[in-house]
């Protein structure tokens, strides 16, 4: 049987509240939206979700990355994610983009891949959409990522059926020149777009499989907002208890990731044998019928939402490049060299260093150079690759650095000693400054570095283990 074998979700720790947005624009706002850190994007969040999802499993043979906010217009993001996850080069990678439905479409493609013989396939869905300041989408759109592994054994939920329709409809869009989400008139896009389409896919899917609302423990589906969500649930005859909370009050509408994140949350609240009706929306709909096999172990959605830090509106503007700020009067750092980054691709993508075959010392060069001579025993060219990205470590010493280029000053950087050996000097991220101390346990996280001209300079930072 084919189904979901593992789940992962990444909710960035930062929140912007409706109240804070309201303070800026003298409006009344409520709820909160999750905001990606200044050094995060859909690629880094997808890596975080995928690494959580893949933990302890054998590597997937396909990785599909779904988003409407890929960092590049031309250049695949799935291969960056696959590289950071240290997948084999034979892993099939693809980007699914340009529609909010990309998440469920990628999921169905992963199911097809496994049906066609792949041992497993992973799907990531993530978004960082921007609503224009002072506009209705500003407080509505949140940032997050989700990952689901599709495979054949040890299932969390089997996939009993699916049904998809396409439907060209201009409700929300961004042309290649738009920074902010555009949309049609509110009632029109709801009454003639989302509501009939979602109603139809849910009821037709149930009809196709001769099932009724009472046959489902949970119904999980995308909606543009909480009101639309409630309206669908009521119209189709599901009770409140059956309807999965869209989490929009807590993290906002996370776009491509939204339905999948709801599904991850729903899987925590069901029992083996239960059915879930699940649907994504965007230029049509995809629906799936899932049968629960067991509950996921590990972190719950509640755990993932628990650690949060509210930011002010000014930080939000700066992090999302919505305001021009005075450049520091410090010398500009050099632009990344593509050829040197290519030579160091192993280190950059999944933080590979070296382990001396003679003395066994793990080592990572601070300049990002290839280690040719062992720092411990001076043996030449006698190394095996050694991965640091999955190692935890401890902060040996640090500086709270006002001169570090960061959009969330002051910077924190320091010397990390990895458990199992090896040392790295690097930036930290997602820290509480007052908790910074010698000996603090850290893990590695894939982020965007501040120095990026032309290309996006992804690399690894350390973050406190909470």
């Amino acid at each position: 049987m084919i189904g979901i074998t593992s789940v992962g979700a990444y909710i960035p720790r930062y929140r912007l509240s409706g109240e804070e947005i309201g303070r800026m624009w003298r409006t009344r706002g409520k709820g909160e939206k999750a905001v990606a850190g200044y050094d995060e994007d859909t690629v880094t969040m997808s890596v975080a979700a995928a690494l959580e999802c893949m933990k302890g499993l054998s590597a997937p043979e396909a990785l599909y990355y779904a988003t409407t906010t890929a960092p590049y217009k031309e250049k695949q993001a799935a291969s960056i994610v696959a590289g950071a996850c240290d997948l084999d080069k034979t892993c099939r990678t693809a980007d699914f983009t340009n529609t909010l439905r990309a998440g469920t479409t990628a999921l169905l493609a992963a199911v097809d891949a496994v049906k066609a013989g792949a041992s497993s396939a992973i799907v990531t869905a993530s978004d960082c959409r921007l609503g224009a300041p002072m506009g209705r989408f500003e407080s509505a759109l949140g940032d997050a990522a989700c990952a689901l592994m599709i495979g054949l054994t040890d299932l969390l939920a089997s996939i009993e059926g699916s049904y998809s329709v396409f439907g060209e409809f201009s409700d929300v869009w961004r042309t290649s020149k738009d920074n902010f989400l555009q949309s049609g008139e509110g009632r029109f896009i709801e009454e003639m777009g989302y509501l009939p389409a979602m109603r139809e896919i849910l009821s037709d899917t149930m009809k196709n499989y001769s099932l009724a609302p009472a046959d489902f423990a949970k119904v999980v589906f995308y909606a543009p907002d909480a009101r639309g969500h409630a309206s669908i649930a009521k119209g189709l005859g599901f009770d409140k208890a059956q309807v999965q909370d869209p989490l929009y009050d807590a993290i906002g509408n996370t776009g491509t990731a939204a339905a999948l994140i709801m599904l991850v949350a729903a899987l925590e609240g069901v029992s083996p044998g239960d059915r879930i009706l699940f649907a994504g929306y965007g230029d049509g709909c995809d629906a799936l019928i899932l049968r629960v096999e067991k509950r996921p172990s590990g972190r719950t959605m509640k755990d993932r939402l628990a650690k949060k830090v509210n930011i002010d509106y000014g930080s939000y503007l700066v992090w999302r490049d919505l305001v021009e700020v005075e450049p520091p009067s410090l010398p500009e750092r050099p632009a990344p060299s593509l050829s040197s980054r290519w030579r160091m691709r192993d280190t950059i993508s999944s933080l590979y260093g070296f382990k001396c075959r003679k003395c066994g010392t793990p080592q990572l060069h601070p300049l990002g150079q290839i280690v040719r001579v062992c720092v411990e025993c001076q043996a030449k060219d006698d190394f095996e690759r050694y991965k640091f990205s999955d190692k935890t470590g401890k902060l040996f010493t640090y500086a709270i650095d006002m001169l570090q280029p960061t959009k969330n000053p002051p910077g924190l950087n320091g010397v990390i000693d990895f458990d199992g050996g090896g040392r790295m000097i690097c930036e930290l991220t997602d820290y509480d400054l007052e908790k910074a101390q010698v000996g603090m346990p850290v893990q590695m996280t894939f982020r965007k570095m501040s120095q990026e001209r032309g290309i996006i300079n992804y690399f690894w930072k350390a973050k406190p283990i909470e």
Partner: protein, 397 residues
């Protein structure tokens, strides 16, 4: 292996006023420092048989020295990060010791303030390629890499944050006090411990007064065979020991490195002491200039060079041991903190002060009856450094 001891003498030195020298270009700084040295030695530019020029950013080749108009002699441009000035001296001194020339010029210069920026650009920003292009591009600053020493030192020796900040402040207060007595220094203001402790943070635990000045300047030395020195002046200064130790980034890669000392300092110090025959540096060294680019570095250098016992810098600082009134005055000219830090010039600037001290010409900063003086110059940072120690004396024996 022979020691450099007593083979080479310094017969003339020059040093410009350091600071934001809007009035002076590289050419002006070079001419100002070199001609002070020529006049001090009573020699002419045409007497130079070879020259070593140290600069990190202010020129690429030997021709950077062309403002002096030297006529077709061998000139070598050297670079060893912040130890570049000492590197120029090494080249000139070794050439004289080798007998390939009898008189050579060592000169260092840096013009940092034409950039229009407040900091120092660095091709060797950690995470970048040495050619200036970036590979990984970790964004931490130069002060941060020295802040690591402070954070770890405080942790290692159980010094709380307030006490640690105060300890660093006392080093800055001392150097400002010394700098205030020096017309050539970049800064002349006297500060209090409270001012230093409360100053804006640059890279915790380093505040504004824990960080040296970004300055323009040049310094020069004329070296000759020791046996010729008295032909030029009655009070030449002799090189007693000179050692450099370059790390291979061991500290940045090996968890065994503790960030409360710098191996490169220790090795350079031990070699220079051995050459000079110094057994007890605290007693035998009369005064020293050490590399206080950040006050944490001066703190650990006290211990690395054996002026204080390991972990004992605190008691020596609190006792005022390294002030002009103490038993081993350090950074009598204000140090990098107050005199300023034009990278390529600093090593020779340190030597200039020790030269003047040993000749009894340091004016209000004069140390009583100095015999042996030391300069310590550090390139790079903790974990990846170049330590250089030079010992000079005013007696030949």
């Amino acid at each position: 292996m022979e020691s450099i001891k007593d083979k080479v003498a310094i017969i003339g030195m020059g040093c410009t006023r350091f600071g934001e020298r809007w009035d002076a270009g590289v050419e002006d700084l070079l001419v100002e420092a070199a001609y002070e040295a020529f006049e001090d030695a009573g020699v002419a530019p045409k007497d130079m048989q070879a020259a070593w020029l140290g600069t990190v950013f202010s020129g690429m080749s030997a021709m950077t020295l062309s403002p002096l108009g030297l006529q077709f002699i061998p000139i070598t441009r050297v670079e060893n990060m912040c130890a570049t000035g000492s590197e120029a001296l090494r080249g000139a001194a070794y050439a004289v010791a080798a007998g390939v020339c009898d008189m050579a010029l060592a000169i260092g210069v840096e013009k940092l303030k034409d950039s229009g920026l407040t900091g120092v650009r660095g091709p060797a920003v950690v995470g970048d390629n040495p050619d200036g292009s970036a590979c990984i591009g970790s964004g931490y600053s130069a002060p941060a890499s020295f802040a690591y020493l402070g954070t770890r030192y405080f942790h290692h020796y159980g010094i709380d944050r307030d006490e640690g900040k105060e300890l660093l402040a006392k080093i800055a207060v001392k150097n400002h006090q010394h700098g205030s007595l020096n017309p050539k220094a970049h800064f002349h203001n006297v500060i209090t411990v409270e001012q230093a402790v409360k100053a804006p943070i640059v890279a915790w635990p380093l505040g504004l007064f824990d960080c040296c000045g970004v300055s323009d300047g040049a310094a020069a030395a004329i070296v000759v065979r020791a046996d010729m020195a008295k032909n030029f002046r009655s009070d030449p200064i002799y090189i007693k020991g000179m050692a450099i130790s370059a790390g291979a980034r061991q500290g940045s890669m090996r968890p065994a490195y503790d960030y409360v000392h710098i191996d490169e300092n220790v090795f350079a110090g031990q070699q220079a002491y051995a050459q000079a025959g110094v057994k007890d540096p605290r007693k035998e060294i009369s005064c020293a200039e050490v590399h206080d680019c950040f006050s944490t570095n001066e703190l650990i250098v006290y211990e690395d060079l054996g002026f204080s016992r390991r972990g004992g810098a605190k008691e020596d600082i609190n006792a005022g041991a390294f002030t002009l009134q103490g038993d081993l005055p350090i950074n009598t000219d204000g140090g990098l903190k107050c005199f300023g830090h034009p990278l390529g010039a600093s090593g020779l600037r340190m030597l200039y002060e020790m030269y003047k001290q040993l000749q009894g010409k340091a004016g209000p900063r004069q140390v009583k009856n100095p015999r042996l003086a030391l300069t310590h110059n550090l390139g790079g940072n903790a974990g990846a450094g170049i330590g250089c120690v030079v010992i000079v004396g005013n007696e030949l024996k």
